[in-house]
């Protein structure tokens, strides 16, 4: 094979290789969104329980992704989970915003939901969202449900036996 053909093939190879890298970065990795995210600001939230929230989980407001969870650690003084979130600059939230941990679907990923309040002052970089609602733990829900069920079952059986005893007395 002559030199020119080899040059053409190698040039073609390198070009599609670079194109593939760009495809991975832009189309798959969404590099453009990432850049927007970088010039944002960070807020702190303290939750009693974060459930399965993980770093890089989305932060949503009204269902729209407005930022990402940056870092999660345990506050050694209060034994609360201190979650650091990164928000895009174009989204500003009032100071009485409520942060809640939601689950998308029954078994889906967990995310932080922000509900804007009515305060006129906006949250600034490194400030804390004071109102936070912990993740719903499915185990707690189930145990609560079972407990209620058992309780109502017990009262029902007690009233049943109360009703049943006279009839039992009638029976031979």
């Amino acid at each position: 094979m002559n030199k020119r053909a080899i040059d053409i093939w190698v040039g073609f190879f390198v070009a599609i290789g670079v194109a593939a890298l760009f495809f991975l970065a832009l189309k798959v990795g969404n590099l453009l969104n990432f850049k927007e995210e970088r010039n944002g600001y960070e807020l702190m939230i303290k939750f009693d329980n974060i459930g399965n929230l993980k770093p890089r989980a989305p932060v949503k407001s009204a269902g729209v992704v407005v930022g990402r969870v940056e870092k999660i650690r345990l506050d050694p003084q209060t034994y609360q989970a201190s979650v650091r979130i990164h928000l895009e600059n174009q989204y500003q939230f009032p100071r009485d915003t409520i942060a809640t941990i939601f689950t998308s679907g029954l078994l889906g990923e967990q995310f932080v939901g922000l509900e804007a309040g009515g305060d006129t002052e906006m949250l600034k970089d490194e400030q804390e969202i004071k109102k936070a609602q912990s993740a719903i733990q499915i185990e707690k829900l189930i145990s609560q449900f079972m407990f209620n069920q058992a309780q109502s079952g017990a009262t029902a059986s007690a009233s049943n036996s109360g009703n049943a005893s006279p009839s039992a007395g009638v029976k031979p």
């Binding site: 190698v10 190879f13 670079v18 991975l24 990795g29 399965n52 929230l53 993980k54």
Partner: protein, 266 residues
């Protein structure tokens, strides 16, 4: 008593051999890097090797990528459909390919397709005393023969791995969206939401660069160090493929532990 001593002596000998081999490999690596100047000032040789290592590996890597992506989507569907989470198909395919399968499988294919060829070529050059002849003519065989092949491998593999991932994602898209009928918007949208370019894509690229150095060094080293007989060259070629495969998998484990441990612990 002497049997036990002999057993220990065996272990010691093997350890010494392994360390000596590692030392030889690192000295050889330094020698190759030192002799690489002419590879980049006169890129004619490098381009010829890029053609042999990169362009000729294209077909196998692209076809494998396409099929791996398609199989990934088919198998992923089986699991995801049970949880009603078929929209996460894009995430599954993209993350598996970009983080692991792209660099690893492309590296294994590259080791068997191009690495073995490099070893056989250099080994045969040594057997037919071409390398010795070059030295007689005051041509450094490491600069003339080894360095271009080494750098061609280092440059080719990251591109091949990226192409593998790209074709794999396209194959996954074909099966998931065109064949199974998952919503195309959800496929790309969830993928873009979940794949971080720095965390996932760049770490995958870093992996493929590390594999490229490892496989290329093993290939040229085994060829240069081959016993100059027909059997020696054949044994060296086999060693290249086996050592490269083991090196890729072992390095991949170590790199994965360091790169992606954070996401597991939360």
């Amino acid at each position: 008593m002497s049997a036990i001593l002999g057993w220990f002596a065996g272990i010691g000998e093997r350890t010494r051999g392994a360390i000596a081999r590692l030392g030889f490999a690192s000295r050889f690596f330094v020698a190759v890097v030192k002799a690489s100047g002419s590879t980049f000032t006169r890129p004619r040789l490098l381009i010829r090797e890029l053609y042999h290592a990169g362009v000729l590996s294209l077909v196998i890597v692209l076809m494998s990528g396409l099929f791996v992506g398609m199989v990934l989507a088919l198998q992923g569907y089986e699991t995801l459909v049970r949880f009603g989470a078929t929209e996460a198909m894009g995430v599954l395919v993209a993350l598996s390919l970009v983080r692991e399968l792209g660099p690893v499988v492309a590296g294994l294919l590259f080791a068997s397709r191009a690495g073995s060829a490099i070893t056989a070529e250099i080994g045969l050059m040594k057997t037919t005393e071409q390398l010795a002849a070059m030295e007689v003519m005051a041509v450094n065989p490491i600069a003339r023969v080894v360095a271009p092949r080494f750098w061609a491998g280092v440059i080719s593999l990251p591109f091949l791995a990226a192409l593998f991932s790209t074709l794999g994602i396209y194959g996954g898209y074909l099966v998931a969206v065109k064949l199974i009928g998952i919503d195309g918007g959800a496929f790309w949208g969830q993928m873009q939401a979940a794949v971080d370019w720095r965390y996932d894509v760049m770490n995958g690229v870093i992996k493929s660069v590390v594999f490229a150095f490892a496989v290329s060094l093993i290939a040229v080293l085994e060829g240069y160090d081959a016993t100059p007989t027909a059997e020696g060259v054949s044994a060296a070629t086999t060693r290249t493929v086996v050592t490269s495969a083991l090196a890729i998998l072992a390095i991949d484990f170590v790199l994965t532990v360091f790169m992606f441990r954070g996401s597991v612990n939360g």
